[in-house]
C-alpha cells in the first residue's frame, strides 16, 4: 500500500501548527509569530528542495547532478557550522575537510561495497543524512576543544613546559571534546527502536515499505550516522590542534567569546 499526502491533507496538517501557536498564545509565551514563520519557512524550503530533487534524481538524469548536490550540501553545512560557532578558528575550512572525509568513508562503504545501488535517489538522501547528522557533532567538537584549550591554558602550557609536543599536550582535551561530541549520538543509537522510531524508518513505513525492510534501511542509516559523526569530529579535532598550536609548540592566543 502506497500512502500519499494530498495538498488538502497538507493544508489540514497546518492545524497542528495552529495548536502549537495556540498553546503559545494561551500561555503568553510570545512565540506565535516565530512558530508561524518557522512552519512557513520549513514548508517553503521543503517544497523548493522537493522540486530541485525531482529535477536532480529524475530517471535518466546524469549522476553528476546528484554529486553536485552533495557538494553543495557539504559547502552549505560548512558555512552553517562556521556561523554557529564563530569562536572556533578556521572552522569553515575544517568543516569542509571533515564533511568531505566523512563522505569518502561513509559513501565509500555504502556504495563501494554495494549496500545501496549508486543512483541519485540513494546518493542524495544518504549524503543528506550524513551531513545533517554530523553537523551538530562537528560544532560541538570544535567548540568544546576550543573552550577546553582556552579555559585550561595553564594546564596545557604546563604540559608544553615539560617538553611534550603540542599534539601530546592536547590529547586529554581532544579526548574530552570527542567524547562530548560522540556521546549524544551513541545514546541516540542505543535508544533507537525502544524510545523512539527514527525518521527514515517512519517515513519508509508511512510510504508503504514493509517494516522489516524499513528497519534494515534504518539500521544502515544509523551506522552511517555513527561513522560520519566519528569521522567528522576526529578530523575537526585533529585539524583544529594543528591550527591552535604553532609549529614550535606554542598555544596561540584564544580570546574569550563575547558574552562570557
Amino acid at each position: 500500500m502506497n500512502i500519499t499526502v494530498s495538498w488538502l491533507g497538507l493544508a489540514v496538517s497546518l492545524l497542528l501548527v495552529a495548536v502549537a501557536a495556540g498553546i503559545s498564545w494561551w500561555q503568553r509565551l510570545g512565540l506565535q509569530r516565530q512558530i508561524l514563520i518557522a512552519a512557513a519557512r520549513a514548508l517553503a524550503q521543503l517544497l523548493l528542495v522537493g522540486a530541485a530533487l525531482t529535477l536532480v534524481i529524475s530517471p535518466g538524469r546524469s549522476i553528476w547532478w546528484s554529486w553536485l548536490w552533495v557538494a553543495a550540501m557539504v559547502g552549505y553545512a560548512s558555512v552553517v557550522a562556521r556561523r554557529r560557532a564563530p569562536e572556533v578558528p578556521h572552522l569553515l575550512s575544517l568543516a569542509l575537510a571533515s564533511f568531505t572525509a566523512a563522505a569518502v568513508v561513509t559513501l565509500g562503504v555504502l556504495f563501494g561495497l554495494h549496500v545501496f545501488p549508486l543512483t541519485g535517489r540513494t546518493l542524495v538522501p544518504i549524503a543528506g543524512m550524513m551531513v545533517g547528522n554530523s553537523m551538530t557533532a562537528t560544532v560541538l567538537a570544535g567548540r568544546r576543544l576550543t573552550d577546553e584549550l582556552r579555559d585550561k591554558r595553564d594546564e596545557v602550557e604546563a604540559r608544553l613546559a615539560l617538553g611534550q609536543p603540542s599534539r601530546q599536550a592536547a590529547t586529554p582535551y581532544v579526548r574530552a571534546a570527542l567524547r562530548a561530541a560522540l556521546t549524544p549520538q551513541i545514546e541516540t543509537t542505543k535508544a533507537t527502536g525502544l524510545v523512539f522510531l527514527p525518521g527514515a524508518m517512519t517515513g519508509l513505513i508511512l510510504a508503504g515499505t514493509a517494516p522489516l525492510q524499513a528497519v534494515l534501511v534504518q539500521a544502515v542509516v544509523m551506522f552511517l550516522v555513527l561513522a560520519a559523526t566519528a569521522t567528522t569530529t576526529v578530523v575537526i579535532a585533529l585539524g583544529l590542534i594543528r591550527r591552535l598550536f604553532t609549529h614550535d609548540h606554542r598555544l596561540i592566543y584564544l580570546p574569550t567569546p563575547a558574552g562570557q
Binding site: D154, A158, R159, L160, A161, L162, G163, P172
Partner: protein
C-alpha cells in the same frame, strides 16, 4: 656578548608587543648560570612575559634570546623545555595521583626516581599514591616543582610560585629553591614581593613598564 659558560640566558634588545602595547621594550640583560636571579617589578611590568621567553612559550617581536650562547630559535623547543623547566604562578595539577603527575614529565621513571623527586622538594614520598588535587596549596606547588625536576632541568623558571601561599609554606618553597640552586641549577625567579626577592636572590633585576632598571642589584649571598 658574555661568556656562555657563566651566562645561562641572555637578552639582546628584546621587545614584545601585545595588542599594540610594548610589554617588553628593548631588554638587554644576562642571567648568570650560578645562583638565583630574581626579576621584580609591579604587576603588568612584563615579568611573566620575560620568563615565558626563556622556554619559548612566547617569542619576541624584536631582539634575540639566547640560552648558553645559542639563540633559542636555533634550538629544538621540546629539548629546550626539558633543559629549562618552569613552575607557574598557579599550581597546575593534572588529573590523577602525584605519581601520575610526575610520570607525565617522565613516563619511564622508576618509583625510586619519583620518590627522589619528592624528597628534593621536601615532600614525603608516601604522597605518591595520593590524588594530587587533595594536596594543600604549598604541597601542590612543590609537587609541580618536583614534576619539573623529573625532567632533570639545568635551569628553573619560577613564575611567582609562592604568591598564593601562606608564610610558612612560602619559606619552605624558598629553602627548597635555594637548595636546588646550591646543587648547580640556575634559578630565575619572578616576584613582585621585594622582601622575598631580598631573601632569595643573588642578583635582582628591576622591571618597570617593560624596561629594565639600568643595572642589576648584586646581593651579598653565597
Amino acid at each position: 656578548m658574555s661568556e656562555p659558560s657563566t651566562v645561562a640566558l641572555e637578552f639582546e634588545r628584546v621587545s614584545v608587543v601585545r595588542a599594540g602595547r610594548r610589554v617588553l621594550d628593548q631588554i638587554t640583560a644576562a642571567i648568570p648560570a650560578a645562583g638565583i636571579t630574581v626579576v621584580t617589578g609591579p604587576s603588568g611590568a612584563g615579568k611573566t612575559t620575560l620568563l615565558r621567553l626563556c622556554n619559548r612559550l612566547e617569542i619576541p617581536d624584536e631582539g634575540i634570546v639566547s640560552y648558553r650562547g645559542q639563540p633559542l630559535e636555533d634550538l629544538d623547543p621540546l629539548v629546550l623545555r626539558r633543559r629549562v623547566g618552569m613552575v607557574f604562578q598557579r599550581p597546575t595539577p593534572f588529573p590523577g595521583s602525584v605519581a601520575d603527575n610526575l610520570a607525565v614529565a617522565h613516563p619511564d621513571a622508576t618509583a625510586g626516581e619519583l620518590s627522589t623527586a619528592l624528597t628534593r622538594v621536601a615532600l614525603d614520598p608516601g604522597l605518591l599514591g595520593q590524588d594530587a588535587r587533595t594536596l594543600s596549596g604549598g604541597e601542590l606547588q612543590r609537587m609541580c616543582l618536583a614534576r619539573t625536576l623529573v625532567t632533570s632541568p639545568e635551569t628553573l623558571l619560577l613564575d611567582e610560585p609562592t604568591s598564593a601561599l601562606d608564610e610558612q609554606p612560602k619559606r619552605v618553597f624558598e629553602d627548597t629553591a635555594r637548595g636546588l640552586a646550591a646543587q648547580g641549577i640556575t634559578v630565575v625567579w619572578v616576584t613582585h614581593d621585594d622582601a622575598q626577592a631580598r631573601r632569595v636572590a643573588t642578583r635582582i633585576y628591576h622591571l618597570r613598564g617593560g624596561r629594565l632598571a639600568d643595572a642589576p642589584t648584586e646581593e651579598a649571598r653565597p
